[in-house]
């Protein structure tokens, strides 16, 4: 009897890295309770619904960055690909291209960036920090050139369906944006945990040489991770277009770093090989809850930034301390 009660919890903990995810989840719950006590409206169905819709884009780019961090690399082009996708889709739609065709063309353009990133990092062996710094600048340039250095006009009546699909519409009581994020999360979590590609991603991040010598194609695995990253960025770019109804050239600025924060708070290691997409959900949620909760509590934007920055550093510091055996880091801290 006793054993039966224990087993689901134990089974959950047996998953690698789940311990840390649970710790962060407790942090998330505490945050929600604190904000709820400060302002009961925090838990109103309207705010919860809005909050989830705010979390969705952060979760999506978090998934992308997590994939790339897991192979031991980084993707700095995330924010620019969001901006580029926003501008390309909006420009096409203002010029009369049907929304469906615009979406397809945008996805192809974004995947090209992912392909280039993966190729530069895996084939040309450039450090990912440099390679994606380059594509980050290029993609932002493309965002600016898309409509001759202007934000676009409104994408208009014809795109009403597009805007509902990506942002305003609801299905089963929840905004579509949330369903999109949830659906993509389910797919990419499945790929990561249950497929050969997923296993290879962990292996390459854990020990690239061991993976290569075991016959894993490091180049293909790296390119796949970058493709996932640019794909989710594209979706976020489309959501941004749907939200404002126009294309903005600086959409998605600094998103690559928000994505790192969501991943790292959720326990994805920046050194590769370690982390779960469950963690990324919690990390993105903490990010969203802090933004929303602090705003609700009336904190100015400067204070919000400072608090969130501190949370990122502290959560990684806690992780370092927990992982260093026998709490040796405490000694360093004491010194």
């Amino acid at each position: 009897m006793n054993q039966k009660l224990e087993s689901p919890y134990k089974r959950l903990l047996a998953i690698r890295g789940m311990g840390q995810v649970l710790t962060v989840t407790i942090g998330l719950i505490i945050l929600c309770i604190v904000f709820g006590l400060m302002n009961p409206m925090f838990f109103s169905s309207r705010n919860v619904s809005n909050l989830l819709r705010q979390i969705a884009p952060i979760l999506l780019i978090g998934i992308g960055q997590s994939y790339v961090l897991l192979i031991g690399q980084i993707d700095l082009s995330i924010g620019s690909v969001v901006g580029m996708s926003c501008m390309i889709s909006a420009t096409l739609m203002t010029r009369g291209v049907t929304p469906l065709a615009a979406v397809i063309i945008t996805i192809i353009c974004a995947l090209m960036v992912g392909l280039v990133n993966g190729f530069l990092v895996a084939w040309c062996k450039l450090p990912s920090f440099i390679a994606t710094l380059g594509t980050m600048t290029i993609a932002r340039g493309i965002a600016q050139i898309a409509n001759n250095n202007y934000n676009t006009d409104s994408i208009g009546e014809a795109a009403e369906g597009f805007r509902n699909f990506f942002y305003y519409g609801k299905s089963l009581g929840l905004y579509n944006t949330i369903w999109i994020a949830l659906g993509l999360w389910l797919i990419f979590n499945f790929v990561l945990t249950r497929t050969r590609t997923g296993r290879h991603i962990y292996a390459v991040g854990s020990n690239i040489e061991a993976a290569r010598l075991s016959g894993v194609s490091v180049v293909a695995t790296t390119i796949k991770a970058y493709l996932v990253s640019s794909f989710v960025c594209c979706v976020v770019g489309l959501i941004t277009t749907a939200t404002s109804g126009m294309g903005t050239m600086d959409a998605g600025t600094s998103y690559e770093l928000y994505a790192v924060a969501a991943s790292v708070i959720g326990g994805v290691s920046t050194l590769g090989g370690q982390g779960l997409l469950f963690g990324t959900v919690i990390g993105a949620s903490i990010w969203g809850v802090l933004q929303n909760g602090l705003q609700f509590a009336g904190a100015p934007i400067a204070i919000r930034n400072i608090v969130i920055g501190i949370i990122v550093v502290v959560s990684v510091l806690l992780d370092v301390i927990v992982r260093s055996n026998k709490g040796k880091s405490w000694k360093i801290l004491k010194k």
Binding site: T195, G198, R199, A211, L213, S214
Partner: protein
Amino acid sequence: MSNEYIVEMKNITKTFPGVKALDNVSFHLKSGQVMALLGENGAGKSTLMKILSGVYTRDEGYLKIFGEEIKGNLTPKSAQELGVSIIHQELNMCAHLTVAENIFLGKEIHSKGLLKDKEMVKRSRAVLERLKIDINPKAIVGSLGVGQQQMVEIAKALESNAKVLIMDEPTSALTTKEIEDLFRIIREVKSRGCGIVYISHRLEELQHIVDYVTIMRDGKYIAEGEFKQLPMPKIISHMVGREITEQFPRVKTQRGKKIFSVKNLNAGRMVRNVSLEAYEGEILGIAGLMGAGRTETTRAIFGVDHKDSGEIIVQDEVVDISCPMDAIKHGIVLAPEDRKKDGLCTKLSVRENIALANLDELCNKSGVVNRKREKEIVEKAISNLKIKLPTSEVNAASLSGGNQQKVVVAKWLARNSKVVIFDEPTRGIDVAAKVEIYNIMNTLKQSGIAVIFVSSEMPEVLGVSDRIVVMCDGKVTGSLITEETNQEEILQLATKFENKID
């Protein structure tokens, strides 16, 4: 069948930029045979085996595996499919993945890309059981010891139906008990008809498992033969190309006054109440099994790790050492165990490495390095220690193990040290280079320095040191005069574990 070669390599040549690594080498292996591939560092053993396992490609030569001539180039994957597996000197495991995931890495069982984890765990368990290895297939590899990781590598090779198993220095990081397990597994694998190539510098362990020997030197094939018909001195002279007169050179000096002592040192679980003394003009050996706390002791003395309690006395004066800089100021220096990790900045040049430890003396008050003095001391150190290198500007990583070790030592010899601690200075280096390291220690001893020499290899501790301190489980279990003791007594002290059940 058993008389047929399963691997035939003829006239293999391989050139790296600037070096001819292999020159017209031939090699044969039969099934059910354990073959020792011997030679000094840089003799080309690893290169030859990397060609056989598809890590490198050959420039020229004939290669036949299981009677099938290989025309093109092998890749690691195609070599594995042919049944050739290599276990590299630096273990290649994904530390974050489980044992089963590592065993099936690159050849996952799946249907349409979906992993079948349960089946992989089941088959991993089966192969581990077959080898009588007690490891849970769901354990994370990073949490296993080096010895167990090695066994997982062997299991991984066998799961892929390896018929030729190449082991590059498999025992260099194992404890005696683990080596016994490894040999048991090698015999097990051999009895299944696999051919095994065994590369090792520890000649004394060959007699336990080896059937046949192939010897290489300077990228060339030198000799081969049944192990039983080749006496050890003959093997050594083939390896080094000349007779080594003294495997353990020893010089007589007058023991001076006590210069250094450690009293009741405690630092964590691995250093408990350690006391020892060193005298001028004497080599003090610290013997013990792996994990006895010897490295931890040297690290605590040198101020790398935190000390809980205890005194360090240099020349009758109690000194406070809380970081390596303190130790260096008091004339204590350490040549650490892991050359590549702790001893050298492998991406810097030899010059920069040697200068690094002496920058305080090389810089003027505003911190500018005096290039002329730097060059002087570097040149002097290189010629004193006979370090073989093209120029002092080459990366430390490009040198052979023996020469790297000399650079580690050279860093410190430019200073006037009083106590020099060597932690496993001869691990993974060849016979001739070992003798050179012993000679360096002897030179230090003659110049009146107290040398502390940590080693796991009993013959060299007995052969080189004047006094021996034996450690076990973080404690000193005995202090002996070398001339009055023997291997059995040391081993007895080294395995004197506390009675855990009181």
